[in-house]
Amino acid sequence: MITGENITKTFKQRGNVLDKREVRALRGVDFSIPRGGAASFIGESGCGKTTLGRILAGLESYDGGEITIDGVPMSGLKPKARQPYFRRIQMIHQDPYSALNPTRTIQQTLFAPLQLRAKQTGRDAKWIEERAAEVLSLVGLDPGTVLGRYPHQLSGGMRQRVVIARALTVDPEMLVADEATSMIDVSLRLGILALLKDLRERLNVSVLFITHDVATARYIGDDGDLYVIYRGQVVEQGKVDTVIADPVHPYTQALLSAIPVLHGLEVPGEEPVVPTSGLDESKEDTGCLFARRCPFATEACTAAPPPLQLTEGVPQRHACIHPRRRSVVAREV
């Protein structure tokens, strides 16, 4: 179980002494991901979802709040002592082309972390070979044909599977997949999503899925939680399928409205929500951060920040003082 409580992170722009601009990437985010569970963070570019993923993988520090891994709060540990915990959280990057060393064969890529582990646990070379074959089989690749190859000899989908296999060599507790399918060919995308779902079931690894494409979040498991993040805050949260079916926050509705409609196969929802302007972080807002772009904003919205509260009738939470159900998702004809 991995939980985060009130995580904050501010990036300070370096350089100019007089103009100290700050970007508040995370403004207090709570989440919890059970062992073997799934969570998806969705939102626009710049909403903070990637920062959160990087913090969890130990690639970025955080300013405030508490991350607890298996009941152990990280704040009480020295950086060195945190390492073994964060090692259990492995990151799958967006671009499988740059995530693998082009001068190394897949065998070399997989053996490196395994050799380290073998040394730590006193295992022999045979274990390394067996384990490398095992992780490749787990991701649906044939060790015999793949081990001797270089990354450029594999397709994008196969490369992403190798990246996942490499993450599995350290027996992770959680995989953080940051836009892990967006650079994969459409015909192969579902294969990678199905693999992540399969790994959850077979290895009991949890998956944190970071994406701007809400639809893909459904395919790593309908039991997963969805966190809609806007400018570093969770604005709506619940089970994937219920949030998609029953969103009450205008921002969630705008994200869902933006998904292309397959005209001919689908008809668009009756009440699409379109933000009144683009994302502009240069101004600080009082009250609701989305109010400036929200077509339904009233004066009350800018008065005070709306708290994340329970949604009536569904096990869901939202941060909006004017929650209303709207039909935004396209239906099949």
């Binding site: 397709s155 579902l190 309908d222 705008a254 933006a258 001919g264 683009g278």
Partner: protein
């Protein structure tokens, strides 16, 4: 508008890289004033096809056969030197894949605009800047600010709009957009697609959109053409193709799209992987390795493109069904 949207007729086009065909025997008509979407995976030849419209395939690639007739320009495959340079930009606008990387990082957008004007012999540069500002304003940007900016000061969606402005500012009426929304998030994508549609109508354009994402085509295109392994396997009106795809590849591709509604278990990835230039079969159907309807004839004979109720499909299995 003074000029009319041109029609484009691509006939039997073959483009090779070191004698390996990236585009093979492609025939496609872009009717004047329509938006045509070309859908394909990586290595399908869609970008090569788009570059052929400007006769801009880079060596070692070359157009090995066929013609690209554009109204008012003739066969661009035969154009050379100055004639070709003048046609690009002035008659045919091209918005490159990842417009974010196609802008000069050292010059402001305004300077690049003036370079464009000078290289095309525009006398009235003030007028050009005015047109550019108007176009940017039309797309919801502050023209003055954008022209004074370097590319790193603009967001992805803004750069994409700058790319569209540069493609249209010389008053081109044929526009090619290569992956116009890749790397943009959903809300920005929806916004750009809306702009493409509106500008297309207002300026009376013939537009070609190249993408790997069927959703993008579904939103903007009147007609849809599906490419696989350098061949056009199916084309027809977008709605009809989406509602009842005929070619097994089109069917598989549509079924592989992650969707917001419907049964999760019904969607599945296509088996196998798309061919590369080196692995695409020299004879027979290019899709047969991944095809659920594969027959003996598919191994040896390239399926001919045939018309089925307003749809053009290249598949042996579809033919059998029709005659049965």
């Amino acid at each position: 508008m003074s000029k009319q949207a041109p029609g484009v007729r691509i006939d039997g086009l073959t483009v090779t890289y070191n004698n390996l065909p990236a585009v093979r025997q492609v025939s496609l008509e872009l009717a004047a004033g329509t938006i045509t979407g070309i859908v394909g995976e990586s290595g399908s030849g869609k970008s090569t096809l788009a570059l052929s419209l400007l006769n801009a395939v880079q060596p070692p690639g070359r157009i090995a056969g066929g013609s690209v007739e554009i109204d008012g320009l003739g066969d661009v495959v035969a154009l050379r030197g100055e004639d070709l340079r003048k046609a690009r930009g002035a008659k045919i606008g091209y918005v490159f894949q990842a417009a974010q990387n196609s802008l000069n990082p050292l010059k402001t957008v305004g300077k690049q605009l003036l370079d464009l004007g000078r290289s095309h012999g525009v006398d009235d540069l003030r007028g050009l800047v005015r047109d550019a500002k108007e176009l940017l304003g039309r797309m919801g940007l502050d023209g003055n600010r954008v022209l004074d900016s370097h590319q790193h000061e603009l967001s992805g969606g803004m750069r994409q709009r700058v790319g569209i402005m540069l493609a249209l500012v010389l008053n081109a009426h044929l526009v090619v957009l290569d992956e116009p929304t890749t790397a943009l998030d959903m809300i920005t994508q929806a916004n750009i697609l809306k702009i493409i549609r509106e500008v297309h109508e207002e300026r009376g354009l013939t537009t070609m959109v190249i993408t790997h994402d069927i959703g993008v085509v579904a939103e903007v295109a009147d007609r849809l053409a599906v490419m696989y392994g350098g061949r056009l396997v199916e084309q027809g009106p977008t709605r009809e193709v989406l509602a009842s795809p005929q070619h097994p590849y089109t069917r598989g591709l549509i079924r592989a799209i992650p969707r917001l509604t419907g049964d999760i278990d019904e969607a599945r990835a296509l088996p196998g992987r798309p061919p590369t230039l080196a692995t695409v079969p020299a004879e027979g159907c290019v899709f047969r390795e991944r095809c659920p309807l594969r027959m003996e004839v598919c191994d040896t004979v390239d399926p001919e493109t045939q018309s089925i109720g307003g749809r053009l499909v290249a598949c042996h299995a579809v033919k059998v069904k029709e005659h049965a």
